[in-house]
């Protein structure tokens, strides 16, 4: 990750000129922090954060609900008990037996097993129950009862510094008619402790959810970032010129692998295209430079001495011939380049292939009739209508026939056949000449490849390459095979794929 951070930050740094080295060093130091910031910006982290917030909120809400309802439950249980006690004591009070009431309170205070305490106060002034002794009591109850939670220290007479002073206590106060107030307290330390524990659990669980979501988000984010970084790194290497690099594809076959596969396919295509451009450049250098040199030398040598008009005329005619062959090569190269780039649109139409081949066959039949020892046979057995560039198909067939006529020794035979049906058909050009060795058949389809035995015949080594390019643009297959003896060139067309190309 560090290396990546430095590589992505070198370009601005290097712009800084003399300060470059320092700048790089500085960038290197802030590298990890930059990575962290990138990590926080990743979509994975962002999503994790959103989920974390949502889940935490949800769990906090659930747990809070549990907490509040538990608290209510505890309070209402305590309050119910307090109400029972209050009712009992008030009944005693209503019966008018104050001493009995006081006795009951005293007794209860002595027992005090449940952390409960009782007392009776006069006019809000706290008095010991004993002081009320002997007074007559009216029967009526004055006020409604109230329940509150207070600190023990506030309601009970405790020795100073008692640890119970801050214990929570549930207090039920009942105002009696003659200024007397009955107070019953119930210590709820245990319940409070339980509630506090629950509250801790609620906070803790929420915090844990948040924490784990964050860690999860960061982990996912950084794993995403790692894979993105690997893509970035490869892309940088490719941009700096190493086209052989490919993105790594794991066995997980996940969405990253899918993208990597697609990008790799794209890179293959780009590499192919660049390779073919490079090949063209090399070919131009080789196959145009040599005839140009020949042309130049021819003219230069002629100029060395004074010659007669006839020699000049001859040399100039030869020079024009050289130029023509250069132009021919050049045109063929352009056509092939254009075909390979798929740049032609106007001339695509539905054309009857049988008529097209018959027309060409007529031309070559005539040639064979004129030439001693050359036999031409045409076997046009179908007339499929095919969506194509008819100029290119005609040129491809013509190229194959030209080759066959050129390389077949006399007496020899050349045959043009169209076979198949409307869906799949084949154009076959065969001869009974020397043929092409199996190991050379792939090679001759490449640009400018000329076999040893044809070095001295005229030609530019582009004929079969052009045929191949024409076949490819029509989604057809060019195959060279043995005609036993001789060469058999078959172009196989299929209606379906031919149409696919056009609609694509």
């Amino acid at each position: 990750m560090n290396t990546l951070a430095s590589s992505t930050t070198t370009s601005p740094a290097s712009l800084a000129g003399d300060a470059g080295t320092i700048a790089v060093a500085k960038e290197m130091r802030v590298g990890p922090r930059r990575i962290n910031r990138r990590l926080l910006r990743t979509s994975a982290f962002r999503h994790a954060l959103i989920y974390a917030t949502l889940f935490s909120a949800l769990s906090a809400a659930t747990l809070s609900f549990i907490y509040w309802s538990t608290r209510d439950q505890i309070e209402s249980q305590v309050d119910a008990r307090l109400r029972l006690e209050t009712d009992y004591l008030i009944n005693l009070y209503k019966s008018g037996a104050l001493p009995e009431l006081l006795e009951a309170i005293q007794r209860r205070n002595q027992i005090d097993t449940y952390g409960r305490f009782y007392y009776l106060a006069n006019n809000d002034a706290a008095t010991t129950p004993g002081e009320q002794e002997g007074e007559a009591l009216p029967i009526r109850l004055k006020s409604i009862r109230s329940h509150t939670t207070r600190n023990m220290g506030d309601v009970a007479d405790l020795p100073p510094g008692s640890p119970r002073a801050f214990n929570p206590v549930r207090v039920a106060e009942t105002q009696l008619s003659n200024g007397l107030k009955l107070t019953i307290g119930h210590e709820i330390s245990d319940e409070k402790a339980l509630l506090d524990h629950t509250f801790t659990l609620v906070v803790g669980a929420t915090a844990m959810t948040l924490l784990f979501s964050l860690i999860g988000g960061l982990t996912i984010g950084s794993s995403v970032l790692r894979r993105i970084d690997s893509v970035n790194r490869t892309a940088s290497e490719i941009m700096s010129g190493d086209l052989s690099q490919r993105l790594s594809v794991t066995e997980r076959d996940d969405e990253f692998d899918e993208i990597a596969n697609k990008l790799n396919q794209m890179l293959n295509r780009i590499e192919d295209l660049i390779g073919s451009t490079r090949q063209v450049t090399n070919n131009v250098a080789h196959d145009l430079r040599s005839p140009l040199t020949r042309l130049r030398n021819r003219l230069e040598v002629t100029l060395l001495e004074e010659r007669d008009a006839e020699s000049y005329r001859t040399v100039m005619a030869e020079a024009i011939g050289d130029a023509d062959s250069l132009i021919h090569t050049f045109n063929a190269m352009l056509s092939i380049a254009r075909l390979e780039a798929g740049l032609d649109s106007v001339e695509w139409k539905d054309a009857p292939i049988g008529d097209l081949t018959t027309e060409i066959a007529e031309l070559y039949e005539a040639v064979a009739e004129e030439e001693e020892g050359l036999e031409f046979k045409a076997d046009i057995a179908a007339n499929p209508v095919f969506h194509c560039n008819r100029h290119l198909i005609a040129q491809a067939v013509t190229n194959l026939l030209d080759n066959a006529i050129k390389y077949t020794p006399r007496p020899g035979q050349v045959q043009l056949a169209l076979k198949g049906d409307d869906q799949n058909f084949q154009i076959i050009v065969s001869d009974n000449g020397p043929g092409i060795d199996v190991q050379d058949r792939e090679r001759v389809l490449q640009r400018f490849v000329r076999l040893e035995n044809e070095r001295n015949s005229p030609g530019n080594g582009l004929g079969l390459n052009l045929v191949n390019a024409v076949a490819r643009i029509h989604n057809a297959q060019l195959e060279l095979s043995d005609a036993e003896p001789g060469l058999k060139a078959t172009i196989t067309f299929t209606q379906k794929t031919g149409r696919d190309r056009v609609s694509a």
Binding site: A323, I327, H328, N331, L334, R338, L343, D344, S345, V346, E347, E359, E362, L363, Y364, A366, V367, E369, E370, N389, H391, A394, Q395, T398, N399, L401, D402, I405, K406, G459, G463
Partner: protein, 231 residues
Amino acid sequence: MRILLVEDDVEAAGYLVKGLTESGHVVEHAADGERGLQLAVGNAFDSMIIDRMLPKRDGLSLIEELRRMGNMTPVLILSALDDVDERVTGLKAGGDDYLTKPYQLSELTARLQALTRRAQTGVQGTVLHVGDLTLDLIRHKVTRSGRSINLQPREFRLLEYLMQHTGQVVTRSMLLENVWDYHFDPQTNVIDVQISRLRSKIDKDFDTPLLHTVRGAGYKLQEMNSPVEMT
């Protein structure tokens, strides 16, 4: 004939002017599209040679402008672009023929002749005559000295094209383009063979040959005792 040449490559234009002048033509040269337009508007020419890519005003726009102004002088477009699409665009813009650089001078003059002749004769009659050779376009009949000659459909079209350009040099490329609609040159001498077959049918049994080979250029259909038209 008077020819307007609009070509920005001055050296190439110089050779072309020299070649055309030596063949007996009068040539005016303009080095950019605007100048070309001025010359074309102010003078009457028999034909124009206009380069596809020109400074100031593009060749195609020049042709379109001339056609809009009602100038129907035949135009031969010269172009370094030999795309079929480019050719279609050029002809759509109002060009009459399209020639890709580099070209042979003989090819260029032959095409210019063909264009001018087409413009001069206008509507063709339905029966063509060269000497005692007649070709009936409606009845699809060819006769020489009253004798009927049997031609294949493609031979008929070949002869029709030659007769429409009687007295002019017709190149192999012109025949491939106009009779066969092929925009490429086969390596085999298919056109020579077709011509020799046609010749055996229309000339072999007669005293005076009509179909002649012009060395280094192409073919010419002409009655020899009529004055030879210079190209």
